[in-house]
């Protein structure tokens, strides 16, 4: 049984969500615009359109760290929003059960991102 008082873990989750949502709100549109639209259409030279520039960028530790934070933040926002949305539309599983699934998925995806970023040339 949970002790009376504020649920600090839940508070931490919400705080992480707020920070992650701000970060994704600020940087994700630029990534999708350049890497997903303008780069593939050949309008601008995006860094992931050629192996040489992509590998050079990913070889920089600051870029690795930045991308790891962006991946983690994006997947955390996904987990948190999906968890509460599923609750709100009445999906069974309970708050904790859905939390385990969604945060688990986000954690797994973040681990995969870390592995790929660490092992890419």
């Amino acid at each position: 049984m949970r002790h009376p008082g504020p649920n600090r873990l839940e508070g931490l989750f919400w705080a992480l969500f707020a920070q992650s949502a701000v970060l994704t709100a600020l940087v994700i549109p630029a990534h999708i615009l350049v890497q997903g639209v303008l780069g593939p259409l050949g309008i601008v030279p995006a860094f992931d359109q050629h192996y040489s520039t992509f590998a050079a960028g990913l070889g920089n530790w600051l870029v690795k760290l930045y991308l790891f934070i962006v991946f983690g933040a994006t997947f955390w926002v996904f987990a948190h929003r999906v968890r509460y949305t599923l609750l709100e539309v009445g999906v069974p599983g309970g708050k904790q059960g859905l939390g385990v699934v969604t945060y688990g998925l986000a954690g797994l995806a973040t681990l995969v991102a870390a592995y790929l970023l660490l092992t890419v040339p």
């Binding site: 709100a25 994700i28 992931d48 359109q49 929003r81 009445g90 995806a109």
Partner: protein, 154 residues
């Protein structure tokens, strides 16, 4: 609930309500009625639909990031096996994701005036100024990040 109550409840097999009555010294506690809404509650008001759309933005953004991860995975194989996403289908998919990403940015940063409190003497910075600053930051971040992604491709 004390340890004794917990043990007693376990031994007697009392249900939640009975245990609740016992723990209030015989007074009948108010029965718990979980707030159950119909699953389609969000379709009954355009504002609720927009709310759900805002919550849904996390899904296409996360899927797009998984595509980015796949691209990083391809780069691990060296130059011979590397193929960047360039198909028309990917561009269309990205445009859809971009719409959701901008919607997330717009709706979340618009809330910043309600959430952030910056003391300014005995007052606080007006909410409108905080919202304007947030959108200004979005423009700066887009130019800087977009510029770096482009410069890295030269």
């Amino acid at each position: 609930m004390s340890a004794r109550e917990t043990v007693g409840r376990r031994e007697t097999g009392l249900g939640e309500d009975a245990a609740s009555v016992a723990s209030t010294g015989g007074r009948e506690a108010a029965p718990a009625h979980p707030n159950r809404l119909p699953t389609d509650w969000w379709r009954r008001n355009p504002r609720y639909v927009l709310y759900m759309l805002r919550e849904f933005t996390a899904v296409p953004i996360a899927i797009w990031m998984v595509w980015f991860l796949i691209e990083i995975g391809r780069a691990r194989g060296g130059p011979a096996g590397y193929r960047p996403h360039q198909s028309l289908a990917f561009v269309i998919f990205s445009v859809v994701c971009l719409v959701f990403a901008v919607w997330h940015s717009f709706t979340f940063l618009r809330l910043s005036g309600l959430i952030v409190r910056i003391p300014l003497g005995e007052r606080t910075v007006p909410a409108s100024a905080i919202v304007a600053g947030s959108f200004g930051l979005l423009i700066v971040a887009t130019v800087v990040v977009g510029g770096l992604l482009t410069l890295g491709g030269r």
